[in-house]
């Protein structure tokens, strides 16, 4: 007999976002699977939230101010004019 998972209102709320946006595309089995994935994602998020950071802890910044005459700061054109998508 499988153990009943403990109620998790945050997981339920996050799953509702997915269900509201995409529920019409999904089967019941797929929604059940997505509920498990959302719970797993939330578990990871809680591990991240558990680590304390300070105001000084910032991301390693990729951002650079942009000016057209400065080609080195151009965003990468990953797709070309010949993109057939």
């Amino acid at each position: 007999m499988s153990e009943t998972p403990k109620p998790d209102p945050e997981a339920d709320a996050l799953f509702e976002i997915v269900r509201l946006r995409y529920g019409d595309r999904l089967t019941t089995a797929q929604l059940d699977e997505l509920r498990k994935i959302v719970a797993s994602q939330l578990e990871a998020a809680r591990a991240l939230r558990a680590v304390a950071l300070t105001n000084a802890d910032e991301p390693i910044q990729p951002f650079a101010p942009y000016r057209e005459e400065s080609p080195l700061t151009l965003p990468s054109p990953q797709r070309g004019e010949g993109d057939a998508r």
Binding site: L26, L34, Q78
Partner: protein, 459 residues
């Protein structure tokens, strides 16, 4: 010529004992005859390859030798844009996609005189949608040349199979988390994941802007260095490509300081752990091994969260439109929707924690030339079965999480065989921008072992 390392092929080409056209014809024939057996080729570039090979032959005859890749055939993972051939990203919705330019890596290899003979199969969208099985490609699963019932690993699956079966002397793959080291490890090859920013990503499919790296798979670590020398460097078309210069330099007779995470074999198959222990015995001949303690951080959650969010953002058009329904793996058709429930603040926490992780691992690596670990936790998965993956939190991969999250270089090389007769591997992960150091360690290891000289029966 089959399984001959690039360095040896280069000597034959330079001395004109073998011509680039002969080499191209030889590998084109193998690609056309054996590519379907391993299901590893998307497009054979016969006309293009022979044009490049004739040019190389003429230049070498005229005394204009460009270097060790001149006249050497290679294959490219089919996420690199190439004018004149489809670039499918391994995915059915993009199988007719064409670009009118070459990726920077393709252009740099052309400048080095290398000959592009094939676009190679890959997992659809480089595995970023959360695939669980080797069949997740519109071309089907790549077959491991060591065992027809085994997979090659992914997502650079065709790059692994093609080098392993002697269809190309080297190939280019990409890694966001594991996609070079996995096929290299499962196929018994050398695979190099360069430092993030060492190689321009221009013209490569974007999966995760802050994690994607391009690098070689080859017969030896030395060959990986030769290839990196040709493809590394700044690129105005990719602002993340570093201005730091790179030249491949061997560090012969170097003594190494290796770091070892004590728990690194937890979750490994028994044979993998045994082979790794034997590898440590070999490494003691070329250096010291000390246990290291890593700070307590959620390494895998950091890198996984960044990957999951960036990947669905990069493909928001395909996901939002429902176009993922056209993907091959059933799970890829709907599981990406779940990632829209990852909160922005949690993603940014992962990005901020990545900076902490990068500083902490830099501090640890300051005392070592490389951390050593098994390249993979297991032998190659069986075809037709779901496999475990750190990307889905069904397997542990702290080295991969740190290495990819912090953008560090790593090379993996074969170190034995498992109970099913498939290769196992050892990896060396180093400080940022220290590819030459990890390559030197792998090369020194290969100079004391002969695992890289063993090959599957393929013809």
């Amino acid at each position: 010529m089959i399984f001959t390392p690039v360095r040896e092929l280069a000597a034959l080409v330079r001395s004109r004992k073998v011509s680039p056209v002969e080499l191209a014809e030889y590998f084109l024939e193998r690609l056309e005859r054996l590519g379907p057996k391993y299901n590893c080729v998307v497009t054979v570039m016969r006309k293009h390859a022979l044009t490049q090979a004739r040019r190389a032959e003429g230049e070498i005859a005229a005394g204009r030798y460009r270097g060790p890749l001149h006249g050497i055939p290679y294959g490219a993972k089919d996420l690199l844009a190439t004018a004149g051939a489809p670039t499918t990203w391994g995915a059915a919705p993009y199988k007719a996609q064409h670009f009118d330019f070459d990726a920077t890596v393709i252009r740099r290899l052309e400048e080095a005189g290398a000959v592009l003979v094939a676009k190679l199969a890959m997992i659809e969208l480089a595995g970023g949608m959360g695939y669980r099985q080797p069949t997740a490609s519109f071309t089907g699963p790549c077959v491991n040349p060591w065992d027809a019932n085994a997979w090659t690993g992914g997502s650079s699956s065709g790059s692994g199979a093609a080098v392993c079966s002697g269809l190309v002397p080297f190939a280019i793959g990409s890694e966001t988390w594991g996609s070079i080291l996995s096929p290299a490890g499962y196929c018994g090859l050398a695979g190099l994941r360069p430092t993030y920013g060492r190689v321009s990503r221009h013209g490569a499919m974007a999966l995760c802007w802050s994690l994607d790296k391009l690098g070689p798979l080859a017969q030896t670590a030395d060959d990986c260095g030769l290839v990196l020398d040709a493809i590394a460097g700044a690129d105005p078309r990719d602002p993340t490509a570093s201005e730091r210069s790179y030249r491949y330099e061997t560090m012969d007779d170097k003594r190494f300081r290796f770091g070892l995470i004590p728990s690194v074999t937890e979750g490994c198959e028994e044979a993998v752990a045994e082979n790794f222990t034997r590898s440590l015995g070999v490494l003691k001949k070329i250096g010291t091994i000390e246990e290291v303690t890593l700070p307590d951080l959620p390494y895998e959650q950091i890198t996984r969260t960044i990957l999951q969010v960036e990947a669905v953002s990069a493909f928001e058009d395909l996901i939002g439109s429902g176009g993922i329904a056209g993907l091959t793996a059933p799970e890829d058709r709907y599981t990406p929707y779940a990632r829209e429930a990852i909160l922005a603040q949690d993603y940014l926490k992962a990005v901020r924690l990545r900076a902490v992780m990068a500083r902490e691992i830099d501090r640890v690596l300051r005392h070592f030339d490389a951390l050593v670990a098994p390249g993979r936790i297991n032998e190659a998965p069986v075809l037709g079965q779901e496999f475990r993956s750190a990307l889905r939190a069904t397997a542990k991969d702290v080295m991969g999480a740190i290495g990819n999250g912090a953008g560090l270089p790593a090379v993996c090389v074969p170190n034995g065989f498992g109970v099913r007769g498939l290769p196992t591997s050892v990896q060396f992960m180093g400080h940022a921008w220290e590819e030459n150091t990890v390559l030197a360690a792998a090369r020194a290891y290969q100079s004391l072992t002969d695992w890289h000289t063993r090959h599957p029966e393929v013809d």
